[in-house]
């Protein structure tokens, strides 16, 4: 029977079946960070269990690192303690740590791919829901809770029920100014935040194939926002070209062997999915969200719906109250206060290049606070090499140090209550960017356009 990419990777990692339908799944790679790991290390210690495979774990500090003065001690005592705890745990258990000050430090989902740790055909987990990002390489990658972090540390395995499969096909050509972020916001606006619950999603079709690896990562990153366990995309020449010669990617003969294997992974003709959707790339316009979950999105020129079958009218009304908006109005032209460019969704070098290109030689609106936060030290380094930092600063943006930053505001980077922020991050939940903050999710291009005009803007008018 023809097999899907997901089935091939999953099935190759099943250690044993458990009576009743669960499976023991072997985990190849485990990424950890300071927020969801301390209790797992404590658990190991309490039970006196050793860490089974320390060479399969990579650690970094990202969620609450400051984006200014990273060479100085973290000011927030709780954040400082959490990062110190990670350092201490990694030293005690012999785990590779890319902590603050290390040239590889950065957002866990940015460093995995850029260092060549993320690969096709592997299983990968992290105590963070956006682990789905790594699926862009054809890996089965998903977020887990801290108890599961502890399980993987102890046994390199997880006990799981195999998810159902869904395929989302996006065919055709994107309009100029429309990006991977718009594709995924569009898909979630139609399927809803629970539309993928119980599924692993494969993205396919010519518009997906045409995306760069960074665009594919943006798509897979937000799979969790429709409730999916994870997303993945078949590896192809784009994947191999991106990975070649990365720091930890296989080299020489090992590279050739690996590529030969990776080429066997794509979904076979005739393989069936439990659910399937088709979308046309031409119909997608730049997207913005108007509500308090990522499914509340619309084309930038559209009006907020009067009724919502997807979220319920009560849910829509609650969101409007929080956002200070009214049903039926257009967001286009509305003044905004903040622009945040960053997060594991859109803080890669390609995102920074796109923003820099749009704002080069221009000034962002005086009414807007614009912050650019690279996803990793490597992205920062590359941006500086290309002079993007200068372009962005000259345009009026603050160019900060790497970290999760204002995506979830665990550090100082918060959006004040009541202020509107056009954000390239992944969540517009109530209080996500700080208590009372009002988030409008958008692509880096749309965010850059909003920074320039000080209003929600259709970027197609500027490109």
């Amino acid at each position: 029977m023809p097999k899907t990419l997901f089935d091939k990777v999953w099935d190759a990692h099943v250690v044993t079946e458990v009576p009743g339908g669960n499976q023991v799944l072997y985990i190849d790679r485990h990424l950890i960070h300071e927020v969801t790991s301390p209790q797992a290390f404590n658990g190991l210690r309490k039970r006196n269990i050793p860490l089974l495979r320390k060479d399969r774990i990579v650690a970094t500090a990202d969620h609450n690192v400051p984006t200014k003065d990273q060479d100085k001690p973290i000011q927030d005592p709780l954040g400082r303690k959490q990062v110190a705890m990670l350092t201490q745990n990694c030293a005690e258990y012999g785990v590779e740590l890319y902590g603050l000050g290390h040239p590889y430090q950065g957002i866990v989902h940015v460093i995995g791919p850029e260092l060549g740790i993320t690969r096709p055909g592997i299983t990968m987990v992290c105590g963070d829901s956006h682990t789905s990002t790594h699926g862009a390489f054809g890996a089965v990658a998903f977020g887990i809770g801290t108890s599961q972090v502890e399980q993987v540390m102890a046994t390199q395995c997880l006990l799981l029920t195999k998810p159902k499969t869904m395929r989302i096909n996006v065919d055709g050509d994107l309009q100029a100014g429309v990006t991977a972020k718009d594709i995924i916001l569009y898909v979630i606006s139609i399927l809803g935040t629970g539309g993928g619950t119980g599924y692993f999603v494969e993205y396919a079709g010519s518009a997906i194939r045409a995306l760069s690896m960074e665009g594919r990562m943006t798509i897979c990153n937000m799979s969790i926002e429709m409730g999916a366990r994870g997303g993945l995309i078949a590896p192809d020449q784009t994947t191999f070209d991106y990975m070649k010669d990365r720091e930890f990617a296989p080299k020489g003969e090992k590279w050739d062997e690996a590529v030969a294997y990776w080429k066997t992974l794509p979904t076979e003709e005739g393989a069936t999915f439990d659910s399937e959707y088709h979308f046309k790339a031409e119909e997608i316009t730049p997207m913005v969200t108007y509500g308090t979950n990522p499914g509340m999105g619309m084309g930038v020129g559209e009006s907020i719906p009067e009724h919502s079958s997807l979220h319920g009218d009560a849910g829509l009304a609650k969101a409007m109250k929080y956002m200070g908006l009214q049903k039926g109005i257009k967001l286009e032209g509305m003044p905004i206060d903040y622009v945040f460019i960053g997060s594991c969704t859109n803080s890669r070098i390609e995102d920074l290049r796109a923003v820099a290109k749009l704002v080069d030689g221009k000034r962002i609106a005086a009414s807007v606070t614009g912050i650019v936060v690279p996803g990793s030290q490597q992205v920062t380094k590359q941006a500086k090499l290309e002079g993007l930092d200068v372009v962005l600063r000259n345009a009026g943006f603050e160019f900060r140090d790497a970290g999760c930053s204002a995506c979830l505001g665990m550090n100082e980077d918060k959006v004040p209550a009541g202020k509107y922020c056009v954000s390239t991050s992944n969540r517009n939940f109530e209080g996500r960017q700080g208590p009372g903050a009002r988030t409008i999710l958008a692509s880096p291009l749309t965010a850059a356009a909003a920074a320039l005009t000080g209003r929600v803007t259709d970027v197609r008018e500027l490109v």
Partner: protein, 200 residues
């Protein structure tokens, strides 16, 4: 993990859909390094004003509604993988969350912490909300062994499904690590038999 078998309690209604983990426990409270103490910040921004005073209109601040069962709208626990959300719910004193569906990661996190995520149909969920609206003291019985949920006020008995393995874990207070550790020989054999493309 504290074993869970059977519980009779009144319930706290939260008829909101898509309750995300950022509402259950906002990110700024994730800086702890232990699993304890999250209950005081459960639903922090819905529950308290900026000055720390309780918001009178939030259900957890209304003494009329009490109990160890939380009843919530569809897609409860969406968003982040933070297990702190389950810890906060457990620490506050809930043992059961009833909804018409749960986000995957949250459901797993709840089960791993001795909290039963109990799935009912949208119609049954509505009936529960209506019952609580009529009588906030209405009692419900969750019988995990029998896989039955009883609305004591109406006498309606609804059967629910749960993964048999997870059921055994909840009833006995086991977690997955014990089971996985018992599979060590198979894990070693799996590692030895495969061609591994994940490490250089």
């Amino acid at each position: 993990m504290t074993p869970f078998k059977k519980l009779t309690s009144s319930a706290v209604p939260l008829p909101i859909e898509d309750v995300d983990t950022d509402q259950i426990i906002p990110a700024r409270f994730l800086k702890a390094i232990t699993r304890e103490g999250f209950g005081e910040n459960l639903f922090r921004d819905w529950r308290y004003n900026k000055d720390g005073s309780p918001k009178a209109d939030f259900v957890l601040n209304n003494p009329t509604y009490q109990g160890q069962i939380l009843v919530a709208g569809a897609n409860f626990g969406c968003g982040s993988s933070r297990e702190h959300a389950a810890w906060a719910i457990g620490d506050y004193g809930f043992r059961v969350v009833v909804s018409s569906y749960f986000a995957d990661i949250f459901r797993g996190n709840a089960l791993n912490n001795g909290i039963l995520p109990l799935v009912v149909t949208p119609a049954v969920l509505n009936e529960i909300f209506e019952t609580i609206e009529r009588d906030p003291a209405a009692r419900f019985t969750v019988d995990l062994e029998a896989e039955e949920f009883t609305n004591e006020a109406t006498g309606t008995v609804t059967s629910f499904e749960i993964d048999p393995y997870k059921k055994t874990c909840l009833i006995n207070g086991y977690d997955d690590i014990d089971y996985l550790l018992s599979q060590r020989e198979k894990i070693d054999a799996f590692e030895a038999a495969r061609v591994d493309f994940s490490l250089a």
